[in-house]
């Protein structure tokens, strides 16, 4: 009897999952072979790449298999059943969203950064609306609504939005994620959000959601009314490791203008557009016209073997490295688009780069840097980590001596144009080598002029390492960066 029951249960489970399918959406004009495509686990975390052997450039919008994929998003979305994964393959053409998408089914939409374009004009709730149990992973979504008060997403419960790039250029009140009343459990992580031309907007309107590891670029946000800020009327949010810049809202809730140059809580940092901006367009990575949220200087390069190219971005703790690695590796064809020209100006092939490194004797791939702005900023517990795939990392903690503060008085106060260092002229930097570099070097430099005012000679790693940098008096106001470079000497190279 037990066996029969077990069999029935197995049959039931099989039946439950038998309708699940991987379906393909590709609107390109030429067939594709051996397409690298990201894979994600049930939590929406990137776990590796797969290779899709063949994707046909289809001539009729009816099927959904890899050799007869859907052509339009509008058709594909009607063909999805609960449990399905829709893989949107990047092509040279945009996938047009012309009607809203509503679903409560358990759906997964993945992409290798295909471009979705929406110019819906059907009222204030447009875009992807009233979804539950939807995972949207790895898309590049431009939202250009012509009407007022639009939503890019209106979400209910248990949605996951990871590794996406969202852009909007609407000019009036705007909400990216409108959280339905009573909804909860939405995860919005590892995304880049840019309000290209908005007057005022809200990134997230809702409650009981998890908003982590996102980079938000908002500008021209001049309105301070009901929902002026990044998180308008948001309550009970879990905010962690987000980076907001070009914003005027200090506390993310009521539009109080920023009076310092940056302000943060829950490890979410806001940088005012009215004072110093520590991250600019030039700090973003532009590949084939697409902007990604990577710093230029420490986010692309070859690993210590000189054979593997990597991309990364910062602001994560150790437990979230898995997520970050997912983002780093999300663009499997970036090896062909090398940004490493920041480091290697002529030839970007791995083996030749490696040869150059051997000549120089050092490998700069383990660079990490922390931005210091001319600001009132407590440097205690100022932690920044850097990493690259499959390797240990350099872990940097900046610990100022004595008062633990570096105080900057910006020019807006008309008090001083200099940074004053309280009670110490030294900055102590601890570096813990968990990335395998054999030596390290540190310097503090002006991001605008490139002038270095404090630097150390290379050190050999031995346990937790510490050095002190002299900080000169009357330091001009500006944006400063501390760069720690992990290095591998020639004799240590494999």
């Amino acid at each position: 009897m037990k066996k029969i029951l077990t069999l029935i249960i197995c049959l039931f489970i099989f039946q439950s999952y038998s309708h699940s399918a991987i379906k393909y959406l590709y609107n390109g004009l030429t067939d594709l072979t051996n397409v690298s495509f990201p894979l994600f686990n049930d939590s929406g975390v990137y776990i590796g790449d797969t290779v899709i052997p063949y994707i046909k450039a289809n001539d009729v919008d009816t099927n959904g298999t890899s050799d007869s994929p859907f052509i339009t998003w509008e058709f594909a979305k009607t063909q999805l059943s609960a449990g399905d994964e829709l893989r949107i393959i990047k092509s040279d053409l945009n996938y047009l969203i012309t009607t809203s998408f509503t679903s409560s089914a358990n759906l997964t939409i993945t992409s290798n950064q295909a471009n979705l374009f929406s110019n819906l004009n059907t009222g204030q709730y447009v875009g992807i609306i009233q979804t539950s149990n939807l995972k949207l992973l790895g898309v590049n979504y431009l939202f250009h609504p012509p009407s007022y008060n639009p939503c890019m997403y209106r979400i209910n419960n248990n949605n996951i939005f990871n590794y996406n790039i969202f852009r909007t250029n609407y000019v009036s009140f705007y909400v990216s994620f409108w959280h339905e009343a009573g909804g909860s459990g939405n995860y919005i992580k590892n995304n880049y959000y840019e309000d290209i031309d908005g007057i005022f907007s809200t990134m997230l309107y809702g409650s009981n959601d998890f908003f982590q590891n996102n980079v938000i670029n908002r500008w021209r946000q001049t309105y301070s009314g009901t929902h002026p800020s990044a998180f308008g009327a948001a309550t009970n949010l879990t905010l962690k490791n987000n980076y907001i810049y070009n914003t005027i809202s200090r506390n993310f809730y009521d539009g109080t203008p920023i009076t310092e140059n940056n302000y943060g809580f829950n490890n979410t940092w806001a940088v005012s557009s009215q004072n110093l901006v520590t991250l600019s367009e030039q700090d973003l990575l532009v590949i084939n016209g697409d902007t990604y949220f990577f710093n230029r200087s420490d986010t692309a390069g070859f690993d210590i073997t000189g054979l593997e190219f990597f991309l990364k971005y910062g602001g994560f703790d150790d437990t979230e490295v898995g997520n970050v690695l997912g983002l780093e590796r999300l663009f499997p064809d970036t090896t062909a688009r090398i940004l490493a020209t920041d480091f290697y100006t002529i030839d970007t092939k791995a083996e030749i780069t490696s040869k150059m490194l051997i000549t120089l004797g050092w490998n700069y791939d383990t660079q990490t840097q922390q931005i210091l702005t001319g600001t009132t900023s407590t440097m205690n517990d100022f932690v920044y980590a850097s990493w690259y795939p499959d390797s240990p990392e350099i872990y940097m903690r900046l610990i100022p001596q004595d008062t633990g503060e570096i105080t900057a008085i910006n020019s807006d106060t008309n008090v001083s144009d200099t940074i004053t260092i309280n009670d110490t002229t030294y900055l102590t930097i601890d570096v813990r080598n968990i990335k395998g570099a054999s030596g390290w070097q540190v310097r503090i430099w002006n991001a605008d002029t490139g002038d270095t005012f404090g630097s150390s000679f290379p050190f050999e790693f031995e346990g937790i390492n510490e050095t002190q940098l002299l900080i000169p008096d009357n330091l001009p106001i500006g944006t400063y960066k501390i760069t720690v470079t992990g290095m591998v000497a020639e004799e240590f190279r494999p």
Partner: protein, 141 residues
């Protein structure tokens, strides 16, 4: 005087913005509009089915007390009312020598309205057969 006028203008503008923002918070309720001479909108689908005649069609949309009716072509509420997530009937048609979907029907025998998705295709700029639009509506049966 100019200053006062400017001040009033600014206040009006601010109020306008606030009204706009407040408006955003108003809820819309799923609704259907019967396509006979009355054009009546119903938020209760059972009552709508009672009031309709055989073959009457319904547009799909939303209602709120301020802006009244608007069409959205969102069939989610009707599917939930019918308690059907998958179509009960699918039909095909020929278009440019290819077989494509014609219409999908969501028909629950216990309800007096059925939901229809009617597919329309076109040739795109690359001479491919792609979806043009989908017509969503309800039908009294």
């Amino acid at each position: 005087m100019k200053k006062i006028t400017s001040l009033i203008f600014i206040i009006i503008m601010m109020l306008a913005f606030n009204v706009q923002a407040t408006e955003f918070e108003e809820e819309w309720t799923p609704a259907i509009q019967i396509q006979n001479e009355t054009k009546t909108v119903y938020t209760n689908f059972d009552i709508a089915s009672e009031k309709a005649q055989l073959g009457d069609t319904f547009l799909l949309g939303e209602w709120n007390d301020t802006e009244l009716w608007r069409q959205t072509d969102n069939d989610n509420a009707l599917k939930q009312y019918l308690n059907l997530s998958e179509p009960t009937t699918k039909t095909l048609k020929q278009f440019e020598a290819k077989t494509v979907w014609d219409y999908w029907e969501y028909n629950n025998p216990e309800k007096q309205i059925k939901s229809i998705m009617q597919y329309y295709f076109k040739l795109d700029g690359y001479n491919r057969i792609v979806l043009d639009y989908i017509n969503y509506f309800g039908v009294k049966k």
